[in-house]
């Protein structure tokens, strides 16, 4: 019995992989070729080496004694079409790849050393116009996203400097007004900022996340000074304000410098969009992000805008590959923006502490409704 259960578990996992990768797409994916690949210490065995153009699933089993990798490489012997890495001994992993007609190489690289073992492949049939269009659209999406990140980081530097100068001048009323708006560009590109493991903690660490001995700096340190707790808190001295704003501005400029030459793969964009909604679900919906200021809805709005940008850039590809997902995402983004719109005020948004339990639940439910289909985006753009 235990054995049977184990087998069915594998069945489920393979099935779910197939489902997420071809997320409710028509029959083409389901009927795609299934190829068994066995990688040993000295051999790369494929159950078939000739297939019609379309989606092909390579199930790679490592029967060698060291880690292996599997690549699909173009006829030139250099350009990687797709790859699966890190397959430990006795493990197996699926690679689902869309191939147009032409000659390719399948390559197993046991031990991940040398050139690997090549097996020539023939894919029959022409180039599907659909995938050529997709390829171009994905390239454009990457360029557009890089431009978006540049724009946001430019705005971020500008608003951060204004905020810092106001806070430094002791004009706290105005600083409180500028604070949530200045953070919005940061929140729109948060996954990019977080990818810099050193800058993120210096700029966006919450008090609750401090490690022993770690110095608390960044936005939330200043947030606490602007919205101090009623008891047990000593305001920053002017010298401390100088130091706090310097760290904020310097590190924001450093972020700006680092994003200048960044490029983004479609899968990174899609993962980033999913992470933005994770941020909303774990931090903003619960009011943990802006614990002192209560300006969580500004961040919420910006996170969703950042995710919406990614979707907008990738939308034509998603429409081609999974029209149902595309329309679901469009309508869920619209829903959540409509909901946020209800809480807009003349100066921004309602503060978290003024939300009722029912309203908080309504937000949580809208986040789930959007995040669930959004989590399928990566699989759709990477196949």
């Amino acid at each position: 019995m235990a054995k049977i259960r184990n087998v069915s578990i594998v069945g489920i996992i393979i099935l779910s992989l197939a489902l997420t990768s071809c997320a409710k797409r028509s029959d083409s994916a389901a009927s795609g070729e299934q190829i068994k690949v066995t990688s040993t210490n000295s051999e790369c065995k494929l159950s078939k080496v000739e297939y019609p153009a379309g989606n092909i699933t390579f199930s790679v089993s490592n029967e060698g004694s060291s880690v292996t990798e599997f690549y699909i490489i173009k006829e030139d012997g250099k350009t990687v079409v797709s790859e699966v890495e890190n397959i430990g001994p006795k493990l197996s992993r699926d690679l689902i790849v869309r191939l147009n007609g032409g000659k390719f190489f399948a390559v197993c690289k046991p031990g991940m050393k040398g050139d690997g073992i090549d097996v020539p492949l023939t894919v029959t049939g022409g180039t599907s116009p659909l995938s050529a269009a997709d390829e171009a659209a994905l390239k454009t999406a990457s360029e557009n996203y890089a431009a978006f990140v540049l724009d946001e980081s430019t705005t971020l530097v500008k608003l951060t400097k204004e905020f810092a100068a106001t806070f430094l001048a002791g004009n706290d009323d105005l600083a409180r007004k500028l604070y949530p708006d200045a953070r919005m560009p940061w929140e729109r590109i948060e996954p990019v900022a977080e990818s810099f493991g050193d800058l993120d903690p210096r700029l966006d660490l919450r008090e609750a996340d401090l490690e022993t001995g770690q110095t608390w700096t960044g936005w939330h340190r200043i947030e606490k000074d602007l919205w101090p707790p009623a008891t047990g808190y000593t305001q920053m001295t002017s010298a401390e304000r100088v130091a706090a704003t310097k760290i904020l501005v310097d590190n924001t400029e450093e972020l700006f410098n680092r994003v200048q030459d960044l490029s983004f793969e479609p899968f990174q964009m899609a993962n980033g969009a999913k992470e933005l909604l994770d941020e909303v679900a774990t931090g903003k919906v619960t009011g943990e992000e802006e614990i002192w200021s209560g300006t969580d809805l500004w961040d919420f709005q910006a996170n969703v805008e950042g995710a919406d940008k990614v979707f907008t850039f990738l939308e034509s590809v998603v429409k081609n590959r999974d029209p149902k997902l595309a329309s679901q995402l469009s309508s869920e983004f619209e829903n959540i923006f409509t909901l946020l719109g209800k809480f807009k005020t003349s100066t921004g948004f309602t503060f978290y502490s003024e939300l009722t339990q029912d309203q908080i639940k309504e937000f949580a439910s809208a986040v789930n409704a959007l995040a669930e289909p959004l989590s399928k985006l990566t699989a759709v753009v990477t196949m």
Partner: protein, 410 residues
Amino acid sequence: MDSISRRNLIKGIAATGALLGAGAVGGRTLLHDESPESLVPFFGKHQSGITTPHQRNLRFVSLDLSTTKKDDVVELLKRWTLLASTLTAGSVESKQASYDSPPVDTGEVLGSASSNLSITFGFGPTLFQSEDGVDRFGISGQSPKDLVQLPALPRDQIIPGASHGDLCIQVCADDPQVSFHASRNLIREAFGIADLRWAQAGFLGKFAEASHTTTPRNLLGFKDGTANPKTSVAAEMDADIWIDDPSEPQWLQGGAYLAVRKIKNIVETWDRTSLREQENIIGRTKSFGAPLSGGDEFTEIDLKMKNGKGEFVVPEKSHVRIAHPDNNAGRKMLRRGFNYDDGSDFVGRTSAGLFFMAYQKSLSKNFIPVLQSLASQDALNEYISHIGTGVFAIPSGVLSRNDFIGQQLF
């Protein structure tokens, strides 16, 4: 104390038509269609419920003493010892003084199978010194050297009402009604001396075959406990779990330290995470629990293995790597956690996760360093939140009904 087997009691009712007649067919030894394997012996050098094969259900209770008299504490521990020995033998208290007094036993397990019930007692730091520094029972000199509250850690969201306690009882059984019943009657015995501080129910899945041969899965869907020391190998338990240390008080020799953490899983975001990322976060495959460095579930993990890009195959921040004994001076602990389900939270998210329990020789050498590394580095932190905490000293076992739990302490 009169007690009867649960099965016999039902027979007794059938035969005499009256509860009061049940005592007549009593006796702790007669067990009908319950195989002896479904009983966990209570008496022994070590307390049961630690190396005992993982049952399917937990009810963990923490109590605070309301008395200031040492004699009351001794009285409670005597009562608990007797009741625990009766219940774990598959019996219930049966001596009914009068038809007009409340039933001695609450009754919900009458007719139930014994279900491998085990009951394990522990003492929290506040038994020896209260939070405001008072030695209520004159026993602070006997406090174990490692029995101090765990340090506050980044990202902790500890709820005091689900943490700590003067005394704890771990009740485990293969039937949730049996574990509930035992904890309920133990709490009842304590009224006037100790009050319930918090309680936590837990569960594990039922496997297709003999459940104790397969590693349980947590609610993240991964096998949890693969690398545990082997409870069937006494030498491993002596090496890593049981205290045998002259610098510790006598009553703790043959005992252990228990650390508990209530760890909420943010299941909504976890369930939207790709299989690739889930496996990279844990460091094992989801299907079979094999380390990403290859092999099957029980293949030794290769932390040094790198891929073609020079990155570790078992990622640097993966849970298994950070918790691995090789990264923690070889220290091991016996994890004996249960999944929990508390319904929903205030924003309408599922409120569920892992009620983590680990037994070990030393907290400062075993548990705390691992907890600290995990708190600061574990990739899993994005999907979990520690909401409950506690440490307890588990005294050695009792050998007979003439002795009581923690006797050498008083």
